[in-house]
Amino acid sequence: MPPIARRNLFHDKIRLAVTLTGITFAVVLVVVELGLFLGFSTTTTNLIDHTQADLWVVSKNVPYIEQSMPFSERKLYQVRATPGVAVAEKFIARFGNWQRPDGGHESVQVVGFNVDQAMGRPWNISSGSIDDLKAPDAVLVDDLYRKKLGVTHLGQVFEINGYRARVVGTTHGIRSFTTSPYVFTTFKNAQNFVNLREDQTVFILVRAAPGTNLLDLKRALQGRLQDVDILSTSQFSQMTRSYWMFTTGAGVAVLLAALLGLVVGIVVVTQTIYATTMDHLREYGTLKAIGAPNSYIYRVILQQAGMSAVMGYVLGIVTSLFVVHGAQQGGAAILLPWQMALAIFGLTLVMCGIAAIVSINKVTSLDPAMVFRN
């Protein structure tokens, strides 16, 4: 087949540049908006999703992780005594007040866990180790918040709610959805930092024994324990995500921006591909006049749109990678997992397909007698 689509596309370099800029812009816009939404959504439940627990014991009617109330640690023994429970550990995630040496204050989220167990540990440790936390005042903070918390070097001493806290290591990229950075420490230290009574905990994390039906275990625990809820990790994650994304309206705003990005993307791509088709309208009229069926012309336009989509997507995704990298170094959480990159490729093809259909409508209504008019 004579390469009409390819030649039409590459013949006018300026038009090609405009088309590709339009698609690239649309792809970057969609990546940033969807990535921001995904970043927000993931960040809200980062802590829950990384605990490696199967079930959570939480205070009654808790709407999200930051809102849970303390309860007696005696429940821990009831949990451990329940058949089907392999491991159960106390866990804390509560707000505290971080005092810098210069006298400034920052709100932090103190996360306390059993350092001898796998559940509830921080991940991406960039300096120091979990064992370093065994010292009575030891904490880990994240690299992203070193400046905010005033951390200049390891071993530096701060105060959390009046208790001495010494930074023994750092994590990397554990972003907090709220403005309060996570501070990881042992459960015991955390009890002190957040002024929790010695016989209290905020959560109990449960790992089920292999082969145990989680739903059955959840029902069994719910039957044994009073005044608490038993939630699966995915359930608690979903509740927390829904709270932050939809109840607060923060997620709705980002989601709307993402949808707006999609609409703007479709409009930009449609306009550019439509303009390219209009540039070659006379040629399509000639094709119709010499007997080309509409399907032949549709194929040319779809090929043009498809090639534009692939080239624009590649440029767009490469640009997006720079944007995502830049954002991750800064304060924004824009995520671009490969699944999203793949979905956006499909979306780009759909956008270009829609653009082609708009152009095709114009060509379908084209009067071949136009070839006799100059």
């Binding site: 004579p2 390469p3 040629e283 000639t286 007997g291 006799f372």
Partner: protein, 255 residues
């Protein structure tokens, strides 16, 4: 002998506000293979409308049109491109070449529409360009060709698939008089030597000797039909193969 184009009582009316205007009124015309028919007349006389109807591009409001023996007035809209493809080649005033394709690719497009592809299509395209003496310019883009060369590429494209009818709308309007005449002489040879029905709409009375008949249109009606050549130039199909006719087309080299 059956006419390649048979027009009977054809009328064409256009809506203009609340009233209608007759662009053609009760036109009867036959065009035979091996014949060059010139159509002349003032602007708005209906020449291009009649040409469009004969090319199955426009539908008549009344009357009957037969193309290569097929009555087209009752055919569906979807059937008409197929009739154009099989039986009609077009030559346009503004050449209407695809600017992003080379000369041979322009011809290949028309061949592809007729189901001829690949190396076979390329061979035929080069052969057709050779017939119009553009073999050495087959890889040139339209922008690099002169007006006469462009029109010859358009002629080669019109000949792709070997249609029995060639319709040309003011094919010399964008050419100087010498080049224009040469293009018309080439079309005359293509008619006489390859037994095609050629209809040419023109304003230029100086090229009247190219035609076998001259039809004058006025106000949508045939005002007169003049026979310009007393000896019919028609030859029997197949009596003069393309290859035998090629030496006689040497004048085209000068275009």
């Amino acid at each position: 002998m059956e006419a390649a184009i048979q027009v009977r009582g054809v009328g064409k009316r256009y809506a203009e506000g609340t009233s209608t205007v007759a662009a053609l009124d009760n036109v009867d015309l036959d065009v035979y293979r091996g014949e060059v028919l010139l159509m002349m007349g003032p602007s708005g006389s209906g020449k291009t409308t009649l040409l469009s109807i004969m090319g199955c591009i426009l539908r008549s409001t009344s009357g009957s049109v037969r193309i290569a023996g097929t009555e087209i007035t009752g055919l569906s809209e979807q059937s008409l491109p197929g009739i154009r493809l099989r039986h009609v080649g077009f030559v346009f005033q503004a050449f209407n070449l695809f600017p992003t394709l080379t000369a041979e690719e322009n011809v290949e497009v028309a061949l592809e529409l007729k189901g001829i592809r690949g190396a076979h299509a390329r061979r035929i395209a080069r052969d057709l360009l050779d017939q119009v003496h553009l073999a050495d310019r087959c890889r040139a883009y339209p922008a690099d060709l002169s007006g006469g060369q462009k029109q010859r590429v358009a002629l080669a494209r019109a000949l792709a698939g070997d249609p029995e009818i060639l319709l040309a709308d003011e094919p010399t309007a964008a050419l100087d008089s010498h080049t224009g005449r040469s293009v018309l002489e080439l079309m005359q040879r293509l008619s006489h030597e390859q037994n095609r029905a050629v209809v040419i709409v023109t304003h230029d009375i100086r090229v009247a000797d190219i035609g076998d008949r001259l039809v004058h249109l006025e106000d949508g009606k045939i005002a007169s039909v003049e026979r310009l050549r007393h000896e019919p130039a028609t030859v029997q199909p197949g009596s003069l193969p393309v290859s035998e006719s090629q030496p006689q087309l040497s004048f085209a080299r000068a275009l």
